[in-house]
């Protein structure tokens, strides 16, 4: 029978299947971080269980760590306890950890690929919803809760039910200045935040194939914002090239064997999907979000919606609620939205290509005097690479602050956060109420758009600044 890529990975990881369809799935790679793991380790300890495969597990502290000078440690006591707890748990259970002072430290979804820990055809889980990022490598990668983290630590398996197959085809070419961030925002706008519920999405089409590995990660990363369990893309030469020689990639004879397997990881030509949609890349414009849900998108030349035009009472209320929270008036132009802060970073857009894209716009320019802007590289290695290329200088000269790696203002668990009513152009993935700080207002954009907003002082069209 013809099968999809998701079906193939699923079938290849079945340890057991009950009659009702409940399956026990083998987990090849388990990433952990400080926020969603302490209760899992505590659970292991309470029931005298061990970590079944410490060598298939990799830990890093990212959500809580300060992005300013780290030599003095973490001043926030609770954050410090969490980071210290991760360290002692990893020691006790024999799990490899990239500590705060390790050059390889960074956001969990950035370091996995960077180290070659993320590999095609694997099942990858992490107590974090953006685990979908790793799907860019043709792996089945998804976020799990803390009880499930404990389950994976103890058994190296996970209890799952099969999801539906959903294919999103994007064909054509992207106009200048439009990036994969705009593609995924467009997709979420189209399907809605619950559009992918119960599904695993496969992204396909010639546009997707033309994207770099890092751009693919941006798309898969935000799959969860469309409600899907995971998003994946069939691996190809670009992926194999990317992984070759990475510290944890297969070596020698194993590399050859892996390649043989990886090359067959694709959906059969005549496989059928439960759901399918098509998008034309040529029609996609730079996007922004105006509201408090990632589905609240408009193009940069568009206008903020007017609740009066909405007939459905619930939708009307939710637009009104979002406008009120965001401090926007109906029908105002996107480019009239003045901003206070800019955040470039996160597991969506904190990789080297993202920093290059923003730096290209910022080169020899100054950011607006009323804007505070920070750039937080996704990992120590991204930071190092950017510094080698002189990107840090471009950022600093334009008026940005250059920080240490971590999640930072993507979720504002550390000191980097918005004050009430402060407005931010952010390259992260969530614009929920309070996400970047209580009362803070987030507009999701691509790195180029964030740079353009920093220069103009309002949300602006990045195409204006393309050389």
């Amino acid at each position: 029978m013809s099968t999809t890529l998701y079906d193939k990975i699923w079938n290849d990881h079945l340890v057991d299947q009950q009659e009702d369809g409940t399956a026990l799935l083998f987990v090849d790679r388990h990433l952990i971080h400080e926020v969603t793991s302490p209760q899992a380790f505590e659970g292991l300890r309470n029931s005298n269980r061990k970590v079944r495969h410490p060598n298939l597990t990799l830990a890093v502290a990212d959500h809580n760590v300060p992005t300013t000078d780290r030599t003095k440690g973490i001043s926030d006591q609770e954050s410090k306890i969490q980071v210290d707890t991760l360290e002692s748990n990893c020691k006790e259970f024999g799990v490899q950890l990239f500590g705060m002072d390790d050059k390889r430290q960074g956001i969990v979804h950035i370091i996995g690929p960077e180290q070659g820990f993320t590999q095609p055809g694997t099942v990858i889980v992490c107590g974090d919803s953006h685990t979908a990022t790793h799907g860019a490598f043709g792996s089945l990668a998804f976020g799990i809760g803390t009880s499930e983290v404990e389950h994976v630590l103890a058994t190296q398996t996970l209890v799952q039910k099969k999801a539906k197959n959903f294919r999103i085809n994007v064909n054509g070419t992207l106009p200048l200045g439009v990036t994969s961030k705009d593609v995924i925002l467009q997709i979420i706008g189209k399907i809605g935040t619950a559009g992918g519920t119960g599904c695993v999405v496969e992204y396909a089409g010639d546009l997707i194939r033309s994207l770099s590995v890092e751009q693919r990660m941006t798309i898969c990363n935000m799959t969860i914002e469309g409600g899907a369990r995971a998003g994946l893309i069939a691996p190809d030469e670009k992926i194999f090239e990317y992984l070759k020689g990475k510290p944890m990639s297969p070596k020698g004879e194993n590399w050859e064997k892996a390649m043989e397997y990886w090359k067959n990881l694709k959906t059969d030509a005549d496989a059928s999907f439960d759901k399918e949609i098509n998008l034309n890349a040529n029609d996609i414009l730079p996007m922004i979000t105006w509201g408090t849900s990632p589905q609240d998108v408009i193009t940069i030349d568009g206008k903020v919606p007017n609740p009066q035009n909405e007939k459905d009472e619930d939708k009307k209320n939710s637009i009104e609620r979002a406008l009120k929270y965001m401090g926007l008036t109906p029908d105002m132009a996107a480019t009239d939205i003045k901003i206070d802060k800019v955040f470039i970073g996160s597991c969506t857009n904190g990789r080297i290509e993202d920093l290059r894209e923003a730096a290209k716009i910022l080169k020899d320019k100054k950011i607006s005097s009323h804007v505070n802007a920070i750039v937080v590289p996704g990992s120590g290695l991204v930071k190092e690479q950017a510094e080698q290329e002189g990107l840090d200088k471009i950022f600093v000269n334009s008026g940005f602050e250059w920080r240490e790696p971590g999640c930072s203002m993507c979720l504002a668990m550390n000191a980097d956060k918005l004050k009430p009513e402060e407005r931010c152009a952010s390259t992260s993935n969530r614009n929920f109420e309070g996400r970047q700080g209580r009362g803070g207002r987030t507009h999701l954009v691509s790195p180029g758009m964030a740079a353009a907003a920093a220069i103009s002082g309002n949300l602006d069209d990045v195409r204006k600044y393309q050389n």
């Binding site: 057991d16 209760q39 009880s147 499930e148 103890a154 058994t155 397997y261 668990m413 109420e433």
Partner: protein, 201 residues
């Protein structure tokens, strides 16, 4: 895990769609290393004003809803992050049953791991039940028979039989899976042959 069987309570109604996990429990409370104690911060931003005072308008601050064990909410409940702190906060507050027309996947499965029953009903039925919240009347949930009883009516709901069994018996997932240790070991041995690069040795 607490066993779930039947439940009787005046439901609280929160008619908001897309209630995300940041709303259920904001990130400043994720810095805990425990599962308990989160109830007081449930729906923090909606529940307290800038000075930490309870906002009277918010449903869970009002009698009798501050003792509700059942929460009725708009669709796509629990979207956003994977944080299990969301069901932990609900549980710690005393809510052991949520009723909505749809849930985000991770939140949905997190509920079951903590003895919370998330029920899926059609929008219409939800509107009907919400009347009971408005009138402050009790409804009851019977998991065994998969029905909600309200007034002289009842509604059936669907639930995965395995998940139902685990809730009814308060079963620990890990213990169940560890009973399959032989199968896991078997799988691992085959894996070492088939895909030696996975174990990196």
């Amino acid at each position: 895990m607490q066993k779930f069987n039947t439940l009787k309570s005046i439901p609280a109604y929160l008619p908001i769609v897309n209630i995300d996990t940041d709303m259920i429990i904001p990130k400043q409370f994720l810095k805990t290393i425990k599962r308990t104690g989160l109830g007081k911060n449930l729906f923090f931003e909606m529940r307290y004003d800038d000075n930490g005072k309870e906002i009277n308008d918010f449903v869970l601050n009002q009698e009798p809803f501050n003792n509700s064990k059942i929460l009725i909410a708009g669709n796509n409940f629990g979207c956003g992050s994977s944080r299990e702190h969301a069901p932990w906060a609900l549980l710690d507050f005393g809510i052991t049953c949520v009723i909505s027309s749809s849930y985000a996947d991770i939140f949905y499965s997190n509920c079951f791991k903590n003895g919370i029953l998330p029920i899926i009903l059609e929008e219409e039925k939800i509107k009907e039940l919400s009347e009971y919240a408005n009138r402050k009347e009790e409804i009851s949930v019977d998991l065994n028979d998969q029905k909600i009883i309200y007034g002289n009516n009842e509604i059936k709901f669907e639930i995965d039989p395995f998940k139902k069994k685990c809730l009814l018996e308060g079963l620990d997932d890990i213990a169940i899976s560890l009973k399959k240790s032989d199968k896991i070991e078997n799988f691992e041995n085959q894996l070492k042959d088939k895909k030696p690069w996975i174990f990196n040795d």
